[in-house]
Symmetry: C2
Subunit: 216 residues, 2 copies
């Protein structure tokens, strides 16, 4: 019982900092995405395609969250955007105060869109508000079509589902239509995109939607 | 700081129960696997192929750990083995006391091999000993080849790496040889198998190794 109390206190503290982050983003008119998924669903690849696509039209910054290594920030920095790496050293999710610290390395007045790539984990990040405008969950076709049922909190808390690696469907036994149905059963208001970072399918549609959110 | 103390106490309590589980397994001469991976790497499919292969030669039982649903226990039960489902209701990993409770539904004197399928999560389960003989981490080729570097604790604590979905390699940009090299860099003593649950490649080799462990 004491453990639950401690956990609740941690979440309350986190939510308070998240609210401050959110106010800061609102003040600067920045649209903020908290990008979540299993390890290897393709968050960083999607980010690369997105940065490629938005180059010259939207000013973006990226915060990368990883348990270990700054490999992802290195990949993202190649696209000429400000990229800050948070290494959690074993921590299974980002928290609002880590994001607040990372923000000190980003010139907020000069960006319109901030993408926060969370630690690859379909469970823990769902509880931690970072102050984002919305959560985008990336599901890969290769993970099978039952994940929304087995990890419902993440799909319930997200506003957007990106079904990635759609190019691999011909070689799989799982069905993206069933994945979509399962996700909408958990959260009927999910906006769903289908993408492939290899073929480029769906990236334009996703980026068009993103541009509309930023311009709001 | 108080949080770290609480976490340490939780781990110490868990380790004490894990030791009791381990003694119980030793007394009954049961070889126990703690099967870990990202969501959707193919743990349950691998389990299905393994049960198919071992049928009639080794007496197996299965404990399924999931955040939600008993879909996996249903799949496994079709193979005629005792299967107990643990639903963590949001919990991101199995703990030794959950396993201890589940064991009350298994006739330990009548089995030789127990496979515990953990929650799909490449971070949190690495800290929680369940009393197993060893951890087997399943990595999917579709997750990319950098995961051992980004989630080192899991690969450090595992004794076996199964590189699954090897049939999809022709359609991917990632390289299983690099995945293997990265994993061995983190943990040089890892025993590595390459499998496909679709084509059946590698299942025989994996099951032969498993049979040898059980017969020891």
């Amino acid at each position: 019982m004491s453990v639950i109390t401690v956990e609740r206190k941690i979440l309350e503290k986190n939510d308070a900092v998240a609210r401050q982050n959110r106010e800061l983003f609102l003040r600067h008119g920045i649209f903020v995405i908290n990008l979540v998924s299993s390890p290897g669903a393709g968050k960083t690849s999607l980010l690369e395609r997105t940065l490629e696509h938005l180059r010259g039209s939207i000013r973006v910054a990226v915060i990368e969250g990883d348990v270990q290594t700054d490999l992802d920030a290195q990949r993202v920095a190649l696209y000429g955007v400000p990229a800050v790496q948070i290494i959690t050293r074993g921590g299974c999710h980002l928290e609002a105060n880590l994001v607040r610290e990372a923000l000190q390395n980003i010139a907020l007045a000069s960006i319109q869109l901030l993408i926060i790539e969370n630690v690859g984990n379909l469970v823990c990040p769902s509880n931690y508000d970072l102050g984002e405008s919305l959560k985008v969950v990336v599901g890969s076709t290769t993970e099978g079509d039952d994940k929304p049922l087995k990890y419902p909190a993440m799909f319930r808390n997200a506003s957007v589902l990106i079904i990635n690696k759609i190019d691999l469907v011909p070689y799989l036994q799982s069905d993206p239509a069933i994945l979509r149905t399962n996700a909408l059963q958990i959260n009927p208001s999910l906006r769903v995109f289908e993408t492939s970072c290899t073929s480029g399918v769906g990236i334009e549609e996703w980026c068009t939607w993103l541009r509309e959110q930023v311009k709001r």
